[in-house]
Point group: C2
Chain length 113, copies 2
């Protein structure tokens, strides 16, 4: 399978699986899956009015740039690399955009390894 299609498929499968957890959420928020198939941006968003406050919360944001998946936002404790690996993506093809460049690709600091 084409690498880009495979990456997109894995991201969408993960986001759709994760979104199921909000199905019976009592907070009244909508869950938006946002897919830009042309520019390769993917988000899971929680949006709406809850407790008289407006909420616009990006849970996950992925981009595909070149042959890499960039994780730009992960507001959960899900281990994205593991989740995508389980869906056929090599960890070497994932960059954590929210990590500073000096940490990226370096693996975990020794204290956490």
């Amino acid at each position: 399978m084409d690498k880009l299609l495979k990456a997109e498929k894995a991201i969408l499968a993960f986001l759709e699986d994760y979104a199921k957890g909000y199905k019976n959420s009592p907070d009244g928020l909508d869950t938006q899956l946002i897919v830009d198939p042309k520019r390769h941006h993917y988000q899971l968003l929680r949006i709406g009015w809850s407790n008289k406050k407006f909420v616009h919360f990006c849970v996950f944001h992925f981009d595909i740039k070149g042959d890499k998946i960039w994780v730009q936002v992960n507001e959960t404790e899900e281990l994205i690399v593991d989740e995508l690996a389980r869906r056929g993506i090599s960890p070497a093809d994932i960059e954590l955009g929210f990590q500073p460049e000096y940490l990226r690709g370096a693996g975990l600091p020794a204290a956490f390894a």
Copy 2:
């Protein structure tokens, strides 16, 4: 023209025009236009590393739901209703989602009218 297509065209024209203002921005951030043509979500996002901090900032977020354009996020002082009206959209077809329901459609409070 089909109403949905017309709404989409107006939103994209506005977002693309607005994005031009970031072209020579010195902050090093990327400007992402996000278009989900299937679910009808539209965003303009600023993203990346600036001054050693990671920025993920949604400038605008529009949805098309039914025959209305919902403005979910506007982090600028642009008057969205005017901007969309200039692009052929009737103010009656625009809802400000970030305003509480009791204000929506009521127009400005008397003090501002």
